[in-house]
């Protein structure tokens, strides 16, 4: 058990937290009585999934996925390594004068020095989808408040069952 904990918990700390956050959100989504609270739970549920995806793309010791050989020494070194070593120094001189053209003709960097961009792209989409859903859900919640005068689920269900409130 202790070994399992050591192995799983230490190497997968982010993944454990994502499960915990997701379960908090899911619990709130099902069990909370107030509709706004349900929506907060829904948002937490969605961010937990985003946390999972972003954790996939993390590489230990890597930088952000933006090419910048001037500012970042590691990236510059990777460029110099990957391109022709003899040519590397000359080109480095050239960068100061020619600006952007310094990228041209160079070979690509070592992929391990940059975080994986694909999960980031996917999660941009997911965040936007999340806010769109939240907006629609909030507008429906406003309609429910207008119709029933309450945002508590049990009160609303009572009104629906009893049929004792007129418009």
């Amino acid at each position: 058990m202790a070994e399992f904990f050591q192995q799983s918990f230490h190497a997968h700390f982010n993944f454990w937290i994502y499960v915990i956050l997701m379960m908090i959100g899911l619990w709130a989504l099902i069990a909370k009585n107030n509709l706004i609270k349900k929506l907060i739970g829904m948002s937490i549920f969605q961010t937990a999934i985003i946390l999972f995806y972003v954790s996939l793309g993390v590489k230990a010791g890597a930088t952000i996925p933006i090419l910048d050989p001037y500012g970042n020494k590691e990236q510059a070194a990777a460029y110099a390594e990957e391109s022709d070593p003899a040519k590397g120094k000359n080109e480095k001189k050239g960068t100061e004068e020619k600006g952007d053209s310094s990228y041209v003709g160079k070979k690509s960097p070592n992929p391990d020095i940059m975080a994986n961009p694909l999960p980031h792209v996917l999660m941009l989409t997911a965040i936007v989808v999340g806010v769109a859903t939240l907006g629609v859900a909030l507008s429906i919640a406003q309609m429910i408040f207008k119709e029933f005068g309450s945002l508590e689920e049990d009160e609303i269900l009572e009104i629906v069952k009893g049929g004792n409130v007129d418009d």
């Binding site: 908090i24 909370k32 706004i36 609270k37 961010t47 793309g57 975080a115 980031h120």
Partner: protein, 81 residues
């Protein structure tokens, strides 16, 4: 990525999520949800996902919280749970 930061922010995240769900005042809950958004934005910046962090700062922490507050103002501030 710095592991110590990672753990600290993740723990704060869980705390913020629980508080946002347990506060009875919905306005406070929406604002704590905004704090949750900023924390997770910090986490993503720390993980190297700068574009996601930027979007989350603008969308998750900014617009979502504002929309929620707009709804709370137009409905009811008190909640039973």
């Amino acid at each position: 990525m710095i592991f110590a930061f990672d753990i600290v922010i993740l723990v704060f995240l869980v705390i913020a999520a629980i508080i946002a769900l347990s506060v009875k005042d919905l306005l406070s809950a929406s604002m704590i949800f905004g704090i949750y958004g900023f924390l997770i934005c910090l986490l993503w910046a720390e993980m190297g996902a700068v574009d996601v962090a930027f979007t989350e700062a603008a969308v998750g922490a900014g617009i979502s919280a504002v929309l929620m507050i707009a709804t709370v103002f137009n409905t009811k501030r008190k909640s039973s749970d």
